[in-house]
Amino acid sequence: MCLAIPARVVELPGADRAIIELSGVRKEVSVALVDDVVVGDYVIVHVGYAIGKLDQDEAATTLSLFAEMAATHDGDLPLTPPLA
C-alpha cells in the first residue's frame, strides 16, 4: 500500500512546490505530478509528492452516503463486547 494523506495547500512557493497543512503541521511537497494546483485545494500526499487532488464534492457525497447506509439500522447492532 501506500501511505498517503489528504492535506490542504496553503502556499505555492515556487515551480512545482507547495506548502501543505494538516491540523497545524506544515510541510513542503512537490506538486510536479498534478496539474493546476491552487491554494485551498486538498491534495493526496505520498512520499513528499502530491499524487492527486481530493474532490471535495465527492467527499461530501460519500459522507452523506455513509449516513444513508447506516440510517435504517441505527442502533440495531450491539456495541463491541466489554473489554474485561
Binding site: L3, S23, V25, R26, K27, L83
Partner: protein, 347 residues
C-alpha cells in the same frame, strides 16, 4: 582575578583534545563553565567525589542513571542539557523517590563549538536549579572528531524514598486503574520535526519537565499507588507492555480517553507512526486501586504538569499479559511494543 591568562572563548572557540587531557585547559573549562554555572557548595569543594549527608529519617535510597544522546541537540521546547536533568530526576521520582543530587558525565567531540556547550550547560544548570536538585559532581572527556555526535551526557541521580512507599509493577492487580498525566507524543514529534530529511513545521514543543513535585503530591495524597513510570522511548505502549509483563495482568485501555494534540496526531499520520510509540519526556503513567482513582485524578489535575490527566483503562485478568485497546472506531486491537526503530513508513 582569573587564575588563567585568557578566559575561555565561549563565543568562537571549539572543544579540543586539551579540554579533556587533565591539564590546565581542562581545569579552566571546569572552572569557568561547569563550576560557575552549576554553582553549589558541594561541587565548589572540588573533590573527585561529592560528599553529603542524608536527610534525617530518610527511608531507603534510590539511584538512577540515564545516558542522553539526542539528535538534534537543540529542539523546540528544550535541549540535551535540560533533558539530561529531567530524565534522571524523573527516573528517581518514578521509584517514589525525592531526588537529592545529580552527577553529570560529558563526552565531547573535538571541534564542538564552546558556545553550544555553554548553552547546554546553562540549560542544565537552570533545569537543576528549578528542580531543586543540584549537580554536585561530574566528569568531562573529549574524543576525536566523528567518535561522538557533538556531545553525550550521562547523568546519575540519588534520592530517598519515604518509608511506606512501595512501588512496582508486581503490585498491580486486576481491576486497578491506569492514569496518564497528559497529552502523548509531544517530545517525539518535536524532535522528528527537526530531523534532516523529515523537516516539517509545527508549534509542537517537547514536553520535557521534572516530574518529582507531581509524584510527591500524588504519593502524599494516594500512598496506595501501585506503580509509576514515565513513557519515554517506546512511548505509552512500552510502559503498558512492561506493566502487563511484570504484573502478570493484562491491560485494557480506551483510545478515546488518551489525550493527544491535533498536531501530534497529524504528524503521526503524515509519517505513518503510531502515537502510542512516540516518546514523551514530561508525562507519567500511574496505576492505583480503583477506589482511589478519582481522588488521584483530582490531585493530578490540580498540578500544572498534569492538568490534562485522564483515566485511560484498567488492569484485567489475562494469562497472555496482552495490552488491548478499544479503538475510537469501536473495535478492539492489541497495543504491541514498537518493532525495530521508529522510522517513517511509506506503506
Amino acid at each position: 582575578m582569573s587564575r588563567y591568562a585568557r578566559p575561555v572563548d565561549f563565543k568562537h572557540g571549539k572543544v579540543d583534545l586539551t579540554h579533556g587531557s587533565g591539564g590546565r585547559a581542562m581545569a579552566q573549562l571546569i572552572d569557568e563553565l561547569f563550576v560557575r554555572h552549576f554553582d553549589n557548595p558541594i561541587l565548589d569543594s572540588m573533590n573527585d567525589g561529592a560528599c553529603f549527608a542524608l536527610p534525617a529519617g530518610a527511608g531507603r535510597m534510590v539511584m538512577a542513571t540515564d545516558g542522553h544522546v539526542v539528535s538534534p541537540l537543540f529542539f523546540p521546547g528544550g535541549d540535551i542539557g535540560c533533558l539530561s536533568v529531567h530524565g534522571t530526576v524523573n527516573d528517581v521520582a518514578m521509584a517514589g523517590g525525592r531526588p537529592l543530587y545529580l552527577s553529570a558525565g560529558f563526552i565531547l567531540e573535538e571541534g564542538f563549538p564552546l558556545a553550544d556547550l555553554k548553552r547546554i550547560v546553562v540549560s542544565m544548570a537552570d533545569a537543576a536549579r528549578e528542580a531543586g536538585v543540584p549537580i554536585v559532581t561530574g566528569d568531562t572527556k573529549v574524543v576525536e572528531q566523528g567518535k561522538v555526535d557533538g556531545v553525550f551526557i550521562t547523568t546519575t541521580g540519588v534520592g530517598v524514598v519515604p518509608d511506606g512507599i512501595e512501588l512496582g509493577p508486581d503490585r498491580i492487580r486486576p481491576g486497578d486503574c491506569i492514569l496518564l498525566s497528559g497529552c502523548i507524543g509531544d517530545h517525539g514529534v518535536a524532535i522528528l520535526s527537526k530531523r534532516e530529511n523529515l523537516s516539517f513545521e509545527t508549534e509542537i514543543q517537547s514536553d520535557t519537565a521534572a516530574l518529582h513535585t507531581l509524584t510527591a503530591a500524588m504519593l502524599d495524597a494516594v500512598p496506595s499507588i501501585r506503580a509509576l513510570r514515565d513513557p519515554t522511548r517506546g512511548g505509552l505502549s512500552a510502559v503498558l507492555n512492561e506493566f502487563a509483563g511484570q504484573s502478570g495482568c493484562g491491560i485494557a485501555i480506551r483510545e478515546k480517553d488518551i489525550p493527544i494534540r491535533g498536531e501530534v496526531a497529524a504528524a503521526c499520520e503524515l509519517l505513518g507512526l503510531d502515537p502510542l510509540h512516540v516518546a514523551n519526556e514530561g508525562k507519567l503513567v500511574a496505576v492505583c486501586p480503583p477506589e482511589d482513582a478519582e481522588r488521584l485524578l483530582a490531585v493530578m489535575r490540580a498540578h500544572p504538569l498534569a492538568a490534562g490527566a485522564a483515566i485511560i483503562g484498567t488492569a484485567i485478568v489475562d494469562p497472555q499479559h496482552f495490552v488491548q485497546m478499544e479503538t475510537v472506531f469501536g473495535g478492539r486491537r492489541m497495543v504491541d511494543w514498537l518493532t525495530g526503530e521508529q522510522l517513517p513508513r511509506i506503506c
